[in-house]
């Protein structure tokens, strides 16, 4: 049961990373049980007994966080938004890291022309401005949260690919890789059996960073009005609040919660990656 002790030591050793993990855990739970947590359909326009629109209600009573200008339940929107945010965040992170890791491995191990081509491609991807690219993408394809995932996957892979490539170039010269070559193992076997597990920790680090980026981008896109119209996300809530001049009416209960949620998820991701980085590269601490 050594791992239990190790796990128990985490909050004491790195309370920030633990807080991040805890935050994530809460968000994941909310996302999973969103259907039972909501009090109303987040997209339904609500009316009271007199068939009047229940718009701009203050928090309290039937509506925990009040209602929007068009009469929707803010609390339910917030809960459903968690699911959307995490789906986008996790899929984007998986895509980014898969592309980045595989290309980084190939680039670093084979070198030569392959390396040059892939790394120049990475330079180009890094040079493309992020938000405009995703907006153009959304304009060409139908607006959907997958555009954000695609955009993030296409533009964010170079960062992890570069770091992994550098790591592979160092691993490639190590004695155990040489030993594997002499045993007669082929290049793909060496790459995926011996090198890949050694860089996996870096992949996870970049995944944890990518989650926050993806959620932030998705929110930005939705806030600018290029998001999907058929789903509720935190960015959509902010956009709705902005367009309905919620700030002017002082409806802080409408736009502050989704803003705080975005901050919380991104900060949680940052805290986890920071704690993880400290385990991976203890020398950076000083």
């Amino acid at each position: 049961m050594r791992w239990l002790n190790t796990a128990a030591a985490i909050p004491r050793r790195d309370p920030f990373a633990f807080a991040g993990l805890l935050l994530y855990f809460v968000f994941v739970l909310i996302a999973i049980f969103a259907d039972s947590l909501i009090t109303h359909d987040p997209r339904e326009i609500l009316f009271d007994a007199n068939y009047d629109l229940v718009r701009n209600l203050a928090p309290g009573g039937d509506h925990i966080l009040g209602t929007t200008f068009s009469g929707r339940d803010i609390y339910s929107q917030l809960v459903m938004g968690t699911r959307g945010a995490l789906i986008v965040g996790v899929t984007a992170a998986v895509c980014v890291v898969t592309i980045g890791t595989v290309l980084g491995l190939i680039s670093g191990y084979f070198g030569g022309l392959t390396d040059t081509l892939l790394m120049r491609l990475a330079d180009i991807a890094l040079g493309v401005p992020f938000l405009p690219f995703v907006i153009v993408l959304a304009a060409f394809l139908n607006p959907s949260q997958w555009n954000v995932v695609i955009g993030i996957a296409l533009l964010l892979w170079p960062q992890s690919a570069r770091v992994i490539r550098a790591q592979v170039m160092s691993l490639r010269e190590r004695a155990f890789i040489e030993a594997a070559r002499v045993t007669g193992a082929g290049p793909w076997r060496i790459l995926f059996v011996h090198i890949a597990p050694n860089v996996l920790s870096l992949s996870f680090l970049y995944a944890s960073i990518a989650v926050g980026w993806a959620i932030l981008t998705e929110a930005s896109i939705s806030f600018l009005g290029f998001g999907p119209s058929n789903s509720v996300t935190w960015g959509y809530m902010l956009q709705d609040a902005y367009a309905s001049q919620a700030l002017g009416r002082g409806q802080y209960y409408w736009f502050v919660p989704p803003g705080l949620c975005i901050i919380a998820v991104v900060v949680a991701g940052f805290l986890i990656s920071r704690g993880y980085e400290e385990i991976l590269f203890p020398k950076l601490k000083d």
């Binding site: 190590r174 004695a175 155990f176 040489e178 030993a179 594997a180 070559r181 002499v182 045993t183 007669g184 193992a185 082929g186 076997r189 059996v193 011996h194 597990p197 050694n198």
Partner: protein, 336 residues
């Protein structure tokens, strides 16, 4: 003869031109014998034996020579055919074998992987074989479940040897297998290795810069200097009656692993630049016995059965040996 290497020439591509790291090296490995390849860093000993496996840095060029293992010409084989021989016929204990194990896999898993992937065994048989191998090299079977970082240096070395023995290869190439260990552990690992070699009748090429290791475990020795063989023959003959001044110097420069105390004297200077090697004998500039004729290529001089030295003054070797034993002989040679 199990392995015959003839006139091997290996170049490295460098920015300033081609470096001839191995220049016409020939040697034999009889079945069941341990052949030591000895020389200082950069003399081409590792390059020469790595060429046998064909796993070389990308800058290395196989320029000429023939290598035949048990009658099979290895140079003529395709990449695919060569792979079939790797590890099944030729196993390798790499330089810094301490780091030759993948840090993310359990040691047992790595041995089993070779047995299954290269030896075609099933998982269960591989597991049993891995346990046998560990027992052979003096490690407990339960340590198969450990990661390499949980092993000490000597244990990792033993595990590397177990890995090399896995598929009962015809030839084992061990490149500086004990260099990173302290002398006590060196002795233990060498003893294990020597016992296994006798028990299993292994044929081994042992690369080392330490002539006392050669004296301790080898049957034959090949002394290399600046990419060329300067002397070779049975260990007892070469070490007792060295015919080349470099061998004499090398012997003086190392303490013996077992044996009497004696004064050590280093060979001053450093090996020549292989981008532009000197004409004639390459050891000339550091040799206390160099004369005018040494600017010509040294002739082959047969000293005894299978014992050759490439030196102009090999016929006077007896007198030179006496002089070489005195420490002052080796002082201030390179100043000229």
């Amino acid at each position: 003869m199990l392995l015959e290497v003839r006139d091997l020439v290996i170049d490295y591509r460098a920015t300033r031109g081609r470096v001839r790291a191995v220049d016409g090296v020939s040697f034999d490995v009889p079945a069941g014998a341990v052949v030591g390849v000895v020389g200082e860093s950069g003399c081409g000993k590792t390059t020469a034996v790595r060429a046998i496996t064909r796993v070389m840095p990308s800058s290395a060029v196989f320029a000429a020579g023939s290598i035949s293992l048990d009658g099979v010409d290895l140079v003529g084989l395709s990449e695919r055919e060569m792979k079939k021989h790797l590890w099944r016929d030729i196993a390798y204990v790499p330089q810094s074998a301490m780091n030759a194990l993948d840090p993310v896999w359990r040691v047992g898993k790595q041995i089993e992987e070779v047995l299954v992937d290269r030896g075609g065994m099933n998982r269960k048989a591989a597991r049993a074989r891995a346990e046998d191998l560990f027992a052979m090299v003096g490690l407990e079977a339960k340590r198969l479940g450990d990661f390499p970082h949980q092993f000490s240096g000597g244990m990792r070395q033993r595990a590397s040897i177990a890995l090399a023995l896995a598929l009962s290869p015809k030839l084992i190439i061990a490149d500086e297998p004990v260099t990173a260990l302290d002398v006590v552990i060196q002795r233990q690992v060498l003893d294990t290795f020597a016992d296994l070699q006798k028990q299993l009748g292994l044929s081994v090429i042992l690369v080392t810069h330490d002539i006392s290791v050669v004296a301790y475990v080898c049957d034959y020795v090949v002394v290399m200097y600046a990419g060329k063989v300067v002397e070779s023959g049975p260990v007892a003959d070469v070490l007792d009656t060295p015919g080349h001044p470099y061998t004499m110097g090398l012997y003086n420069a190392f303490p013996e692993l077992a044996g009497e105390e004696r004064e050590l004297s280093p060979i001053e200077g450093s090996p020549p630049d292989l981008l532009d090697p000197p004409k004639g004998c390459r050891f000339r500039a550091r040799c206390p016995f160099a004369i005018a004729v040494c600017t010509l290529d040294p002739p082959e001089h047969i000293i005894g059965t299978g014992h050759v030295a490439y030196c102009h003054r090999a016929s006077e070797a007896q007198d030179l040996r006496e002089t070489a034993k005195r420490t002052e002989t080796w002082v201030g040679v390179t100043s000229e």
